[in-house]
Structures are given as C-alpha cells and as structure tokens.
Symmetry: none
Subunit: 220 residues, 4 copies
DNA sequence: TATGAATGAGAATTCATTCAT
DNA sequence: TATGAATGAATTCTCATTCAT
C-alpha cells in the first residue's frame, strides 16, 4: 500500500520536474522554437521519458496552463474567503493574488491563449481540456462572487458580477501581456506591480457606487 | 513613370492580398500550425511567390502587425483631433476606435506579443522592427495626449498620462484576448463590443476626478 | 493543354521511379527494415520528395501492390481472350502468365498479404484500398471465367468457377512464397518455373472430367 | 532435483504463456505494428520479463515459428504412420492435419516467410535457426514419404516425391494466406476448411495414375 | 514575375532493450 | 525472477525556403 503511494508520489514529482523544465525552456525560447529535446535536456532526462508523462508537446504545454489555473483558483478562493475585509481591500487582495500568479508563471498565463487554436485543441485529451475549462470557469466564478458581495453590501455599482470578473481578468492578462512585451522590446526593468496597482485602483474606483464616492468625499 | 507607378501600385496590392490571406490563415490556425503553403493556397498563389514579397515567415507575420499598428495610429489620431468632444465622449470615441481595430484584425494585435520572442526578432529586418517600435510608441503617445488634455481640463484625476495609455491598451488587448478565448472554447457568440463598453465605462469612471463625480451627482 | 499533359506524364514517371526504387529496397531488406531514407537514396531523391507522391510509407507500399495487381489483371485478361486455345492450353497460358507476374515483381506479391493487418489498412486512403479490392476481385473473376468456359465445354469437372480461381491463385502464391523461402534459406538457384509447371500440371489434371481422362487414355 | 524439474517446468510454462500472447498480438497487428509492450500487456507481464525468456523480438517471433513447425511435424508423422489407410485416405488425413495446423496457429505459418529477411536472420541465434531449418526439412521429408509410398503402391503417378511435398505445402500455405486475406478485407466468415477440402480433392485427383482413374470409373 | 517541384535540416515520436530495485 | 521506468537511437514525416523553368 505504502509502496503504491510512494510510487504515485514519485510519478507526480517527475511530472512536476518535467513541467518546470518545460516552463523554463518555453520562457527562454517561445513554444515553437522549443524542442522536446531541449526540454528533456533541461529536465536531465531523455526525450523518450517525456512521453511517458505527457502524450505530446501540445499536451505538455496545456498541462502548464492547467498548473497556473490551479494556482489561480487557490489564490482567488483565498481572497474570496476573507470576509472580514471591506470591498476595497478585497479588490486590493485580488490584485495581490494576481501579482502572485504572475510571479508563479508569467509567460504561461500569457501564452495560455495559444490554446485558442483549434489545431492545438484537437491534440489534447478531452479530459485535460475539460479540466482547463472547469478551472477557468471556477476561477471566474470565485472572482464574480467577490464582486457580487460588494454589490450586495452596497459598495459596488449594480453590474453583472460575471461581467466584472471577465473584465478584471482581462485587465490582468492585458497588463501582463503588455508589460512583458515592453520588457522584451526594451529590456527595461519590470513595472508590472506598479502598473497593476494603478490599473486596479482605477478599476476599483470605476466600479464603486456614486453615493459611496460622494459620502467618502463628504466625510473627508 | 506612369508605368513605374502602376507597377508599384500593383506590387502593393499583391502584398495586401498576401497579408489578408495570411491573416485569415493565422486566425484560424495559430502561427506555428499555419504553413506557408496554407497561406499561398488561401492567396491563390504558389509558395514561391510569397517569398517575392516577404523575406520569410516571421517577416510576413511582422508585416501583419505593422499593418494593424498603422491602422491603430490613424484611428487614435482621429480621436485625438476631435477637440470639440468632452473628455467622457473622447473616451467613448477611443473605445469605438478599439472596436474598429478589433474588426480590422482581431487576432494579430493579440498575437503581436509573439514578436516578444528574441528568436523571432532576429529573423526580422531592423527596418521593419524599428517601424513597429515607432508605431506602437506613437499610438501610445497619441492616447496619452488625450488623457493629458483630460487631466489639464480638470476632468481626469491627476495621473501619469502614459501610464493611463498603457492601461487602456492593456485593457483593450486583455478583453480581446479573453473574449476570443471564450469564443473558441465555447463557440459562443461574440460579446466583444458589449464587454468593451462596460470595461471602458468602468475605466472612464475610474479615472475621473472625485469632485467631478460629486458635482455630477449633485447636479442630477 | 500540351503542357498540362506533359506535367502529368512527368509526375507519373516520377511516381514510377519512386516505386521501382522502393521495390528494390523492399526486396533487399524487408518492409520494416527499409527506411524512407533508403528509398529516397535509391531513387536519388530527398526524403521529403517521396511524400509529395505518397502520403506515407504504408501507402507507398500498397501502391506497389496495386502495381502488381494491375499487371496481373492485364495478363489474366490476355489469357481469357485467347478463345482459340483448348482448355488445357489455357491453363498452361495461365501458368505462364503467373511466371511473368512473378518476374514482374516477386516479393511484392508475396508481401501483399502484409495488407492484412488492420493497423496497416487504417493508414491507407480509402481510394487506394478500394482500387486494390477492385483489382483483385476483377483478376479472380477473369480467372473464374476461364474455368467456367472449360466447364461449359465439358473439359473440366463441374465445380464452382470462383472456388477454382481462388485455389489457382492460392497455389500460385503458395509456390512463390515457398520457393522464395527456400531460396533465401539455402541460397539455391531458382526452381520457381519448374515447380509452378508441375503444380499446374497436377492442378490441370485434378480439375478435368473423368470421362475426359478416360477417353484420352482409350484414344491413346 | 524434483525442485529443479519443477522450476524447469514452470519456466517452460511461462515461455508458452508469452508465446501464446505474442501469437494473439501478431495475428491482430502484424509483426512491425506489434510492440513488445503490447505482447507484455497481453501476457500480463512486464516488458522486462519477456527478455528473461527470449533474447529479442526476432527470436520471440522465430520461436513461434518453431512451435508451429513442431506441431506440424507431429501431425504429419502421425499421418505417415497410418499405414492401414489407402492412398486417397492418407491425402485426406494430410489435409485434416493441415486444418489442425491452421487452427493451432493461422498466421505464424504464413508469416514464417518473414524469416526470409537476411536482416532478421542475423538477429537469431544459430541454434534456433538450425532447429527451424531442421524441422521444416523433416516435415517435408515426412510428407514426401507418404507420396513415395503412394507412388510405389501404384496409386500415384510417378513424380519426384519431394516436389509433391513442396507443392502440397505451397497449396496449404497459399490457401491459408489467401483465405485470411479475403477475411480481413471483407470481414467474411471463414471458408478455410471448405477451400482446403476442394483444393486437396483436386490435388489428390491430379496426382493419381491415369489407369487408376480409369479402372475406378469402369468398376463403378 | 510566377511557379511548384524539390530540398534537407530538423522535429516529434516510437519502441526494442536495459537495469536498478 | 519480475518489474517498469528510463533510455536514446532510429524513423517517419514536416515545412520553410530555394531555384530551374
């Protein structure tokens, strides 16, 4: 029994080892220019071994996406459970979660959209695909709940919570994409955190109820 | 001379024809899964002919990016010149410009970030690369000017105009990316315009001066 | 018009060139040990070129089979049309046709049965597969007609003509198989013609009507 | 000692278990498309274990051939020893032996010809190879003896007995090959027994002495 | 200019075989 | 003995690019 469990754990560890190597290689070279041999070398394994853990290159790639999505859900759920925070602080917590997610894996989130291509989709096992769909749906739903509570407590203007979640996620990915882009073209330092802070300040203000804003002002 | 001009015009027309074909193929299949033969077939030309107009696949791709950036700059400049509009309406005009850009070429803007890859960059002629940098800089600057004027007229909160431009562009690309993603995964209808409207409403409200909001409220 | 035709002819010639090279390589090495690179080298072409003419290795192989089947049908039809021959001589002519077929391509006929594997079948285009089925059906039918006429003329015992065709073809392939086998194991000279002669003498006698045999004997 | 024997017996049983699994897999998929992992899975063993019993894939394959040749010799010897039967009945007994052999292993006999490939031969231990040659020689010789006795007893026409054995074996393998082929291509039911009966009726009649046939006829 | 057949380097993937446990 | 993860050489196939016509 213990043996089966240990084997299972080792197998999972090996998968992680390969995914981490893949992440490093993809970050350095972009998906198409990265070869399975590069990844194998980075993981200090032989090419054949990769295929014991991942059906093909697209599936390895998609597994990286899954990994980020899992982390994203956990971080969003954590924010969602912090009921003691006021609405504004929850938005800030959400933003901090996003910074964490970015630090967990900057590029895979960005490249996640590679999965758009139907040519890619057909190389994926339906199980993996449905896991990805499921996780992204859950993450959005979790974010939507945060907005919903803000609306019910009268802090946020009355908008469809799911639309707000879509927009918050879009803002996040857009900023990551654009900052990464600028960074590569100009080799500048990383302004992601600052930009994200500004962006979410604006977003937070943009979704507040007018009354709320007024009363704040008057109180001051 | 007239002959030379006509030839020039025809050459440009042929370039456009290839780019349009490439755009369609890249949209359907993603860069790597699209072959030069696919593109040639879509353009009703032979593979060899493509190479008479574009140095290589990467350069063809980059030219598509250039094309959308040119359009973007024109649209942004047009908004910038509409001095008769109030700040709020200019944000709305900016948003409409973005919808146009999206309709001009949904994915290439998003995939523009593929150019990040340094492996790709070195396949491009330096001329093309500097044109791309130049155009994206100008587009941002033009947007920044719009925000700057809003700040000077006292309508927008005092923030760095370039940061606002970065965020507006990020929001735009993020929404395109995410809506396209949802569309591919779920085969749903296209909610881009609606989402973009909501997103820019929030953004517009988020960057207004508090006083401004209050006075609006009181006046009402 | 003439150009299109010439191109078509050249394309067909190139296909033949590849098939001949493949035949030589398969004869020397057996299907699995022959690589596409071997075949390309033998045809003095690059590996990629093979794929312009044949979808994959299995399809190239099956095309060789088709080629023999085409030749087989022509030879059998030729025998079938020789109505002036008596039944016994027609069997002899059939046997000579088989020797020709063997000389046209000894191994592919033998290996034709590789196509049995369903794993192989699924790599073939349905068009090619149906051509193969069609040709083997027609060849058998043509042989069956020869037997039918012998039965109707009272020379052959009354048996199902198609069953006789099956058996004649089986005898042919069995002899080829076995003689090739002996030849490889013992590096002996080629007894195929002699064995085939004996085999078809026996077969011819075996299918004659008893009366016929008797009367021959009495007449002698 | 008893222990050593039991171990030996168990080892042999395990070898048989693997060969049976291999036979099933090879029948379904053809040699090249069958992987050692397929065979291991079918035998409910791990790939490594196969190599404890067989040197390599070619040798496993050759062992299957050996197995069917052993069975063939036993069956032919059994027919050979039935001296009480008349010649015609002995041919019938031979045919029944062939049906048994077919049922013992339909395809391996036919695929035996894969061993032709010199590339394959050099992967085999010389011991195994000489056993195979020896057994096939003995089987043919046994058959030849049956024919020889028929000739000496005046029932069969005077032909070289070994040539008759070659032809009988060819007819057998040809029929198996062709019937299996038809079966795979058309998913029909199995006509092997019927075809083999007809084929050997014809063969039996074809090798009889003329006088013999006449006298039969007159007697009737 | 346009063609499209040919190229061939390069990639993904497979699988017989090994070996530490 | 048995395992099965790991290997890595070998193989099939792809596709950006070239070039003779």
């Amino acid at each position: 029994m213990g043996i089966a469990e240990r084997k299972e754990r080792e197998k999972e560890r090996r998968r992680q080892q390969i995914m981490l190597a893949a992440k490093r290689v993809f970050s350095a070279k972009s998906f198409n220019k990265s070869t399975m041999e590069d990844i194998a070398a980075e993981a200090e394994l032989s090419p054949g071994t990769i295929y014991l853990y991942f059906k093909n290159k697209d599936e390895l790639y998609a597994s990286l996406t899954l990994r980020v999505l899992q982390y994203m859900l956990i971080r969003f759920e954590h924010v969602s459970m912090q009921r003691n925070l006021n609405s504004e602080d929850r938005i800030a917590a959400l933003r901090e979660a996003m910074v964490d997610i970015y630090e967990f894996d900057a590029l895979v989130l960005v490249n996640m959209f590679r999965l758009q291509s139907s040519e890619t989709l057909k190389n994926l096992s339906s199980e993996l695909l449905s896991q990805i769909k499921d996780l992204s749906r859950k993450s959005l739903q979790t974010m939507a709940n945060i907005f919903k509570e803000g609306i019910q407590s009268g802090n946020f203007a009355d908008r469809h919570p799911m639309a707000l979640a879509d927009i918050a996620l879009s803002l996040f990915s857009g900023v990551v994409l654009w900052e990464e882009s600028k960074r590569t073209l100009n080799e500048n330092k990383n302004y992601l955190r600052e930009t994200l802070e500004t962006a979410f300040h604006i977003f937070a203000k943009g979704i507040q109820r007018q009354d709320n804003l007024m009363s704040e002002k008057i109180a001051s």
